[in-house]
Amino acid sequence: MWARILSLITKELLALLRDPRGRMVLIAPPLIQLFVFTFAATLEVRNVDIAIVNLDQGRWGRELVSRIDAAPTFDEVISLASIGEIAPAIDSRRVLAAIEIPQDFSREIEAGRPARAQIILDGRRANASQILFGYVNRIVGAVGAEARPRPLLTEGIVRHWFNPNLIYRWFMVPALVAIISMLTGIVVTTLSVARERELGTFDQLLVSPLTPLEIMIGKIAPGFLIGAAQGTLFIGLAVFVFAIPLSGSLPLLYVAMVFFLAAVLGVGLFISSISSTQQQAIIGAFAFIAPAIMLSGFGAPIENMPGWLQVFTLINPLRHFLVVVHGVFLKDMPALEILANTYPLVIIAAVTLPAAAWMFRARTQ
């Protein structure tokens, strides 16, 4: 039996890797993506352009303008003559925001009354606008403290643990280890049965001495091996190229990865079994991949989602594996916590693999 499975696995791997394009596609694009996305993903707002309309002739208006000018956040600070010029500059996305300093700005400050400026932000880019407003507000606060110094009563001292400088790469690269190995693993598995069915070679497999279970193992193994190999390559790159601290237990990370891939490939084989063409299989894989990524906590925190959707995320293997990957890399997560986040993966795998086996058997008889 093992010899038969082994030869089937060899055949499956050969089918994938014999084609130079197939080999290339498993290595080059994921690597390029890792580098491009890692550097693309940043939450800071930098190099944006901002406009200022300063109607104030006094000292404080000039002071605010020069502080904004000096801030490293902005690429270009454009001075506008009138309020009427703001709308075209924002509408055409020439600037992300425009600051309006009213005529009586300095006068109000000198008189001891609260002076008000206004900032107009492009709500089309809501996230960047909000971050930018935070920066500007800090500058305004600093000018205000200078205009009317008063003793500070309280102070909040912020410490970011596990990633003191909040380097986004430290979050991104471990997440990509999980996401890209999942992408490859699932596409390889989903297409495996569908391709043979489309080309009509599946019947040849069925009349061979292989049992359906053996065929199934043979179909899952390549996705598993390639996914794990890619995961290993990315872990190596994360540590040695991106210099991301790996503070926790590597063996436990692999334990979780085994169950993660098993859970995901069960889904892949299920989709493959119900598809009769490769196109259907790819669409099916997509219908799984997109929600798996969206509802994993990668794009947006799970606690921001509505309650019913949060419950739904519990069946998402990527959600649990991301906790483990980030925990092992950055947080030196204790073994007990890693196992607590691995057991949902075991349960998901224990559902998806038998379901795939059942569907596989049902469609091969």
Binding site: P30, A41, N127, A147, R159, W161, N163, G327
Partner: protein, 380 residues
């Protein structure tokens, strides 16, 4: 003979396009692709991605039982953005942070009220500890915590009869999206993502399938030129994608309540322009790959992921390093995202839309050209 040629070309394209449409239509998965999948994805994006943080889980460690410290802790417990709870010791809060049960915790140290009341000993400090492994949330926790502390301090100063008004303030006004609903930005952005999937992924598999099955050889034996062949593949998928777009726009407006301030003409022009590079990229991939596995991987890595991460949908393009900004200029979804956000939220701002349309058409022309060059009318 010469006069009959154009007519011949058109009838050949029409016949092939009809064959392609029938093939799409006969496949039961086509309804799934055109309607179900896009709406399902839009639904996920609409509900699944929200950057409006609500009820962030934080812990509070109070090291003294003085009224001021209790009052500050209470301000955190009742703040609407936090789901806060008191931890008996810092050690317990640390364990909870490590185990992902907390996004951060605050420590109100034992000298807090003493320093607050005693003038001249410097500000009373509290510590805000965040889980930096989630940088986005860490930033939010830090900002919200500072905000609650600031509001509490202002109130405290007022109660003490100290002046608390800041000398100057700046008031934000967010145009096009006054209440800053992230859904208004994310839904138009995710339409671009969905259309990339429909446009690029599907067409990537079309030619690859024919190469794989060897059915292209039968076509080569006919008078059809490679240009006609490509046109016949494009037309049905173009119409399919327009139908998907219509469904997406209707869902965005009526299901998610996103305002639609532009015109029908503008969004049609934008969509048609986007489909040129999206379909072109798909055809290019499938002509180059000649195998559905390779084609699907290439479509994923060169279509879907860049549309998600390099289009300005998730990350601000201006803030990326220069080489990566250069790469984003050849991602068609980049122009589609900014165009859609403008048509939906701002209206027909042609100074944004026309350059976007021009760039998409330019990219489309390049991709279709290479797809044509890679589709030889002969058997290799």
């Amino acid at each position: 003979m010469n006069a009959a040629r154009p007519h011949g070309a058109f009838s050949r394209i029409a016949a092939l396009a009809r064959k392609e449409s029938k093939q799409i239509w006969r496949d039961p998965s086509s309804a799934v692709i055109v309607l179900f999948l896009p709406l399902f994805l839009l639904f996920l994006f609409g509900y699944g991605i929200s950057l409006d943080a609500a009820s962030v889980r934080i812990g509070i460690v109070i090291e003294e039982r003085e009224p001021d410290a209790e009052s500050l802790a209470n301000a955190y417990l009742t703040a609407p953005d936090f789901a806060a709870r008191i931890y008996e010791s810092q050690a317990l809060a640390e364990v909870a942070l490590q185990a992902n049960r907390l996004r951060g915790f605050l420590v109100i140290p034992s000298d807090f009220s003493q320093r607050l009341r005693a003038r001249g000993s410097g500000p009373a400090q509290i510590y805000i500890i965040t889980d930096g492994s989630q940088p986005n949330t860490a930033e939010i926790v830090a900002n919200y915590s500072q905000g609650v502390l600031g509001a509490w301090t202002t109130q405290f100063a007022r109660d003490q009869g100290l002046s608390a008004e800041p000398a100057l303030t700046i008031e934000p006004r967010f145009w096009f999206n006054e209440d800053l609903r992230t859904r208004y930005n994310l839904v138009p952005g995710s339409i671009a993502l969905v259309m990339t999937i429909i446009g690029t992924l599907l067409t990537a598999l079309v030619m690859a399938r024919e190469w794989e099955r060897g059915t292209l050889e039968a076509v080569f034996a006919t008078p059809v030129t490679s240009l006609e062949l490509l046109a016949s593949k494009l037309i049905p998928y173009f119409l399919l994608a327009l139908a998907t777009m219509a469904a997406c726009v209707l869902a965005a407006v009526f299901l998610f309540g996103v305002p639609f301030r532009g015109s029908f003409l503008a969004i049609l022009a934008l969509t048609a322009a986007f489909l040129a590079p999206a379909l072109g990229q798909g055809l290019l991939i499938s002509s180059a790959a000649k195998n559905q596995f390779v084609a699907s991987q290439l479509a994923l890595f060169s279509g879907f992921l860049p549309a998600m991460l390099l289009s300005g949908f998730m990350f601000e393009i201006d803030s990326m390093p220069a080489p990566i900004q250069a790469i984003t200029t050849i991602v068609p979804a980049r122009y589609f995202v900014s165009g859609l956000q403008t048509v939906f939220l701002a209206g027909d701002v042609w100074s944004v839309l026309l350059p976007a349309i021009a760039k998409m058409l330019g990219l489309g022309a390049v991709m279709l050209f290479f797809a044509w060059r890679l589709t030889p009318k002969r058997i290799a």
